[in-house]
C-alpha cells in the first residue's frame, strides 16, 4: 500500500489541498449533511441557551391559563405554542425538552460506543476464538428484547435520568460491535499493521494509533445513528411512563401527557412529536452525510 502511494506521489499536483480542507469542501456541497448539521446546530444551541430563550419557567403552573391553544390555532401571543393541562408554557417545555433528548441521546451513544467499539475492535483484530466470543455476546444482546428489558430495568431501579441513560447505553452497542468488527478486519489486512507489528509496537499502541484512527469514520456514523435510536427509545420509555419522570420536560412525556386530550387538543401531541421527528431526522441526515463525505473517492 505505502509503496504504491510513494511511486505515484511525484505525479500528483504539487499543491494538493490538505485532507481536512477536501472533507470540508465535500461536506459543504452535500445537501443532506448541511441540512442535518444546521438543524442539529439549531436544536443544540436552543438546548444550550434554554434559560435565555425560554419565555417562561417550564415548571411554573398557571391553572388559570390551562390548555391555551397555540397562536396558529387562534391563541394569543402570550403563549406562542399554548399551554398544557397544568397551564405550563408549551414552548418553554419544548425548549427544555431538547436538553433532555440531546443529553440522553448523546450520553447513551457514548456509553454504547465504548462498549461496542471495544468488543468489535478486539473481535476484528484477533479473530479466531476472541472473535467467536464477541459474536456470541452480540447474538445474546440481539436476542434480548431491548424495549422490554429497558422498561423492566427502569421499573425496577426507578426512572432517574442516570438509570435511563445507563440502560440505553448498555443496550444499544450491538451495531458498534458489528460494524467496527468488520471495519477492523479490513484494516487488519493492511501493510501498516504488519509493519507496526514487525517494528515491535505494543498492542495498545497498534489498536489506538493504527486501528482506531482508521475505523473512526465508521464509528462516527454509528454514533449518530445510535444517538437517534436512543432519543426515540427514551421518548418511547417516557411515553409509557417508565422513562424520565414528571415534571421533567421530556418530549416523550409531553406526548404521553397530551394523549389524555387526544380527541380535543391534538396539538398537544403534534408539537412535541414533530420536534422529535425533526431532531431524529437531522441526526440521521448528518450521519448519512458523514458516511458519504468520508467515503473513499469513487464510492457512493
Amino acid at each position: 500500500m505505502s509503496n504504491t502511494s510513494l511511486t505515484i506521489s511525484p505525479g500528483l499536483p504539487a499543491a494538493s489541498p490538505a485532507p481536512s480542507r477536501v472533507l470540508a469542501r465535500k461536506a459543504l456541497r452535500h445537501r443532506g449533511f448541511m441540512v442535518g448539521f444546521l438543524i442539529l446546530l439549531f436544536v443544540g444551541l436552543t438546548a444550550l441557551f434554554a434559560p435565555l430563550i425560554a419565555p417562561y419557567d417550564p415548571y411554573k403552573q398557571d391553572l388559570l391559563a390551562r390548555l391555551a391553544p397555540p397562536v396558529f390555532l387562534g391563541g394569543d401571543w402570550k403563549h406562542l405554542l399554548g399551554t398544557d393541562a397544568l397551564g405550563r408554557d408549551y414552548l418553554s417545555r419544548l425548549i427544555y425538552g431538547a436538553r433532555v433528548s440531546l443529553l440522553i441521546g448523546f450520553t447513551a451513544a457514548l456509553i454504547s460506543a465504548v462498549i461496542g467499539t471495544t468488543l468489535g475492535v478486539l473481535g476484528g483484530y484477533f479473530g479466531g476464538k476472541v472473535d467467536a466470543v464477541v459474536m456470541f455476546i452480540v447474538s445474546v444482546r440481539l436476542a434480548l428484547p431491548a424495549t422490554l428489558v429497558a422498561l423492566a430495568v427502569v421499573a425496577l431501579f426507578g426512572g432517574s435520568l442516570t438509570v435511563v441513560v445507563s440502560v440505553l447505553g448498555l443496550l444499544l452497542w450491538d451495531r458498534f460491535a458489528v460494524v467496527l468488527r468488520s471495519a477492523t478486519m479490513q484494516v487488519r489486512q493492511m501493510d501498516y499493521i504488519a509493519a507496526a507489528e514487525v517494528l515491535g509496537a505494543s498492542l495498545p499502541r497498534i489498536l489506538f494509533k493504527d486501528v482506531l484512527p482508521n475505523v473512526m469514520n465508521q464509528l462516527i456514523v454509528i454514533v449518530t445513528l445510535e444517538m437517534a435510536h436512543a432519543i426515540i427509545l427514551e421518548a418511547a420509555l417516557s411515553f409509557l411512563g417508565l422513562g424520565v419522570q414528571p415534571p421533567t420536560p421530556s418530549w416523550g412525556l409531553m406526548i404521553s401527557e397530551g394523549k389524555e386530550m387526544l380527541l380535543f387538543e391534538s396539538w398537544l401531541i403534534t408539537i412535541p412529536g414533530i420536534a422529535l421527528f425533526i431532531l431524529v431526522f437531522s441526526i440521521n441526515m448528518l450521519g448519512d452525510g458523514i458516511r458519504d463525505v468520508t467515503a473513499p473517492e469513487g464510492r457512493n
Binding site: F136, V140, A143, T147, L148, L151, L262, L263, L276, N284
Partner: protein, 305 residues
C-alpha cells in the same frame, strides 16, 4: 448442510441458555422479590415467611436451575399480581401479538420490496426519490407518535377504523401499518442496494441481450439473488417487532403479550416479566435460525460454518 444446521442449532441453544440466565438474574438484582409479593409495609415476619415459602432463601444458582427446569416444561410459575399461571396468560395473549407481527411484516415486505426493486431499476428518478423519502421519514418517525397521529386522523376524524381493541378485524389495520412502517426503511434500502449490485452483473446483461422482457429480468432473474440478504434482515426485524409490540399494543389497547408485558412491568410482576423476556428472545432466536437455514438452502456458498 446437516453439519451446518446442527452447528446453528447448538449456537442457538447456547444463546438461549445465556439469555435465560440474564433474564433471570437481571430481575433478581433489582430488589427482594419477597417484598414485591408481600407488598409495601409488610412486617418482617411476613416477608421471611414468603421468602422461605417461595424458596428465595436458596442460593441464586439453585433457584435459576429450578426455574429453568420448570420453564422448559412450560411452567413459569404464578403471577404475583394476576394470581394466575403465567404460561396460561401468555398463551392466551400471544395470538394477538403474533397476528400483528406477521401482518406488520407482510405490510413491510409488500411495500418495501417492490419499492426497493423499482428504485434500483430507475435510479435517480421520481420513484427512487419517493422510496428514499419513505425510508427517511420511516427512520425518523417515533412509532408511538405515528400510531397516535393515525388514531387522530383515521379513527377520530374520519371514523374509518376503531381506535382500539380487536373485536372487528379493522382494529388490526392501524397497528399493522405502524409496525410495518417501522420495518420498511431497512428492508427497502437493502433491497435497493442488493438490486443495484445484481443488475450490474454479467448474467443480467446476458438475459437482457437474449431479449427477455425487462419485467421478467427484474423480478425473476435479479430479485431472486438480491433477496437473499433481505431474508435475514426480515427475520431480525420480525424478532424486533415482537419485542417492540409492547409500544404498539399499549397505544391501540390490544390485549396481546406486549400489553401483558407492560402491565406486569408496571406492577413489578417478576415471573411474568421473566417469562415474557425469555419468550420474546426465543422468538428472535428461532426466526434468525430459520433465516440462516433458509439462506443456506437458497445459496450453498453460505453453508460454511
Amino acid at each position: 448442510m446437516l453439519k451446518f444446521v446442527l452447528t446453528k442449532i447448538g449456537m442457538a441453544a447456547l444463546v438461549a441458555l445465556t439469555v435465560s440466565f440474564i433474564s433471570f438474574i437481571l430481575l433478581f438484582m433489582a430488589g427482594d422479590p419477597a417484598i414485591a409479593i408481600a407488598g409495601e409495609g409488610a412486617s418482617g415476619e411476613v416477608i421471611a415467611a414468603i421468602r422461605s415459602q417461595y424458596g428465595f432463601d436458596r442460593p441464586l444458582l439453585v433457584q435459576y436451575v429450578d426455574w429453568l427446569m420448570r420453564a422448559l416444561s412450560g411452567d413459569f410459575g404464578m403471577s404475583y399480581y394476576f394470581k394466575a399461571p403465567v404460561s396460561g396468560m401468555i398463551a392466551e395473549r400471544l395470538p394477538v401479538t403474533m397476528t400483528i407481527g406477521f401482518l406488520g411484516m407482510s405490510f413491510a415486505l409488500l411495500l418495501a420490496i417492490p419499492m426497493g426493486v423499482l428504485a434500483a431499476a430507475f435510479p435517480n428518478t421520481l420513484i427512487d426519490r419517493l422510496a428514499l423519502g419513505i425510508a427517511v421519514v420511516g427512520q425518523a418517525i417515533p412509532s408511538f407518535w405515528f400510531g397516535l397521529i393515525l388514531i387522530v386522523v383515521f379513527s377520530v376524524n374520519l371514523g374509518w377504523v376503531p381506535a382500539s381493541g380487536t373485536r372487528q378485524w379493522t382494529g388490526y389495520v392501524l397497528p399493522m401499518i405502524v409496525l410495518g412502517y417501522y420495518a420498511t426503511p431497512a428492508i427497502m434500502r437493502l433491497t435497493r442496494a442488493g438490486m443495484l449490485e445484481v443488475l450490474s452483473a454479467d448474467y443480467i446483461r446476458t438475459a437482457r441481450a437474449k431479449g427477455i422482457k425487462p419485467r421478467r429480468v427484474l423480478f425473476k432473474h435479479a430479485l431472486r439473488n438480491a433477496i437473499i440478504p433481505v431474508v435475514s434482515l426480515a427475520a431480525v426485524q420480525l424478532g424486533f417487532m415482537f419485542g417492540g409490540s409492547v409500544v404498539v399494543e399499549t397505544i391501540f389497547a390490544l390485549h396481546g403479550a406486549g400489553y401483558l408485558a407492560w402491565e406486569s412491568i408496571s406492577r413489578n410482576d417478576l415471573p411474568t416479566m421473566q417469562a415474557l423476556i425469555l419468550i420474546f428472545a426465543m422468538f428472535y432466536i428461532a426466526f434468525t435460525f430459520l433465516a440462516d437455514v433458509l439462506n443456506a438452502w437458497l445459496d450453498p456458498r453460505l453453508r460454511t460454518v
